[in-house]
């Protein structure tokens, strides 16, 4: 939101879904030459807004925006720490550090990202159950991309 502008009531997600706000975001995206943005709300929910492909329409508007459904608020992602190629299993090992369905602890390594000759860990942020892996072995992942989903421990 632009500084100084009066805040609307309701959750951040509701504010973003407001047509006037969407129009404004679309303009920002266009002016910045950006294809999409991801907004993380206070409750950990992610809202991703992708500019539509129809760039010939006049002005910015709702028709050019797509709201991408995101993970339910209860599931937390384990994110890529850097851009690189996803390695589900360490190349010197036969088994993954944690398998889908297993319990994980905070800071536990659940996968790896290969950056040239080096390897960075993908770590769980909190305790929970490793729910799913959302990318394929060898896929290129970006900084902050969600690679695993973790169901937090109650």
């Amino acid at each position: 939101m632009t500084k100084g502008r009066k805040r609307k009531s309701g959750s951040l997600a509701e504010q973003i879904l407001d047509p006037a706000t969407l129009e404004e975001i679309a303009l920002w995206l266009e002016n910045a030459g950006v294809a999409s943005i991801e907004i993380e709300t206070g409750d950990g929910r992610l809202v991703r807004i992708v500019a539509g492909e129809d760039t010939t329409s006049h002005g910015a508007g709702m028709d050019r925006l797509v709201l991408v459904p995101t993970e339910p608020a209860s599931v937390r992602p384990a994110k890529a720490p850097i851009a690189g190629h996803f390695l589900p299993v360490h190349p010197a090992r036969e088994a993954a550090e944690a398998t889908i369905g297993a319990s994980v602890l905070p800071e536990q390594i659940v996968g790896f990202v290969r950056v040239g000759p080096l390897i960075m860990p993908i770590c769980a942020e909190e305790a929970g159950t490793l729910d799913a892996c959302t990318v394929e072995s060898g896929d290129l992942v970006g900084y902050g991309d969600s690679v695993f989903l973790i169901e937090p421990a109650q």
């Binding site: 720490p81 850097i82 360490h90 550090e97 790896f112 000759p117 080096l118 390897i119 960075m120 860990p121």
Partner: protein, 332 residues
């Protein structure tokens, strides 16, 4: 400082070795897996040849007496830092009083512990390597024992990220430059040596059969067991210089491969020489495992050496780029 809490025998301080004194009967010593030593050092920001701990008997436990950075390379020994599992080929910042534990590896033989700043023991003849036979170098010329403490050098900036990071293992990164194992048999490249012709048709079986690394094998040399290979007629040779990698054929007909603590001279006929770039793989071969020799050439050996050098250069170049990128992102 680090304190050794638990160790088996024969774990020593090693660097890349002591060269230039063979004429005085001084063995070169140095790590059995030089590549693992170099990768570990590069991960913690050291020059590639700093002194490390070579661990070949397990379990091994040590306690850090100050905050520092450590790398564990070579054999995957299911390392644990205060009970937390670490991947192999890994570097990580550690805190004072934390305990690192290495278990017996299921594959491979030797692990290397590199510390940012290197192990600060007094160099002897230009090297910190332990010469067990000479009784000098390393920690008082002997292998490590529980309660030993080792000083660690200081290093200005080591920016290993908090959760650690690692290197692609050479087995993977360099797979196309080394012959693949065949049914668990390590394929080692060698070049026929000085007395090869004396073995005549017998020499063929040197290459064709699978040899077993006998229990009489250590850092000095590997004695192989298999179907003996004998000379057509016995020869007596004057003692001559010997280096790591030389494959000697004693009268028993079962070969001996000279390793890091190789004798400086010997009189057995030499049937072959293992190419230098394959010695690290032999250094990770376990007693009881099987190997087979395959004939190589100087050109092939040089090609593999260039590939290893490029792999090391890539790590050396990428470590600062990665750590700077991570530092920049963490400030956002």
């Amino acid at each position: 400082m680090i304190e050794v809490l638990q160790t088996g025998p024969l774990n020593t301080v090693q660097d890349l070795g002591r060269f230039g004194f063979r004429n005085a009967g001084v063995t070169s010593s140095g790590a059995m897996d030089r590549l693992a030593l170099m990768v570990g050092n590069l991960l913690v920001g050291n020059d590639e040849g700093e002194a490390t701990v070579e661990v070949q008997t397990f379990p091994f436990r040590l306690r850090f007496e100050r905050d520092m950075t450590v790398a564990i390379t070579g054999a995957d020994c299911d390392a644990r830092l205060d009970g937390r599992r670490l991947p192999p080929w890994w570097a990580i910042p550690v805190s004072s009083a934390q305990v690192l534990e290495l278990e017996t590896p299921r594959r491979s033989a030797r692990a290397y512990l590199s510390f940012a700043g290197g192990i600060d023991v007094e160099p002897v003849m230009g090297s910190r390597s332990t010469s067990l036979r000479g009784g000098f170098g390393g920690l008082d010329g002997r292998f490590l024992a529980a309660n030993d403490r080792l000083a660690i050098g200081s290093i200005s900036a080591c920016a290993v990220p908090q959760g650690g990071f690692g290197a692609m293992p050479p087995e993977t990164a360099l797979a196309e430059h080394f012959p693949a194992s065949e049914d668990g048999t390590l394929v080692v490249r060698a070049i026929p040596a000085g007395e090869y012709a004396l073995f005549g048709a017998e020499a063929e079986r040197f290459w064709s059969q699978t040899w077993k690394i006998s229990s009489q094998s250590d850092r000095t040399g590997y004695r192989l067991s298999g179907e003996p290979i004998r000379l057509a007629s016995p020869v007596e040779l004057r003692s001559h210089g010997v280096v790591p990698g030389v494959v000697q054929m004693p009268p028993s007909g079962e070969p001996i491969i000279q390793m890091s603590d190789a004798n400086t001279a010997g009189g057995y006929p030499k049937i072959a020489g293992v190419i230098d770039v394959d010695l690290w793989r032999l250094g990770q071969a376990r007693i009881g495992s099987r190997i087979r020799f395959v004939q190589s050439s100087v050109a092939e050996a040089r090609g593999a050496e260039r590939a290893v050098q490029a792999y090391l250069d890539d790590i050396r170049r990428t470590v600062p780029i990665l750590t700077q990128a991570l530092a920049a992102m963490s400030r956002r």
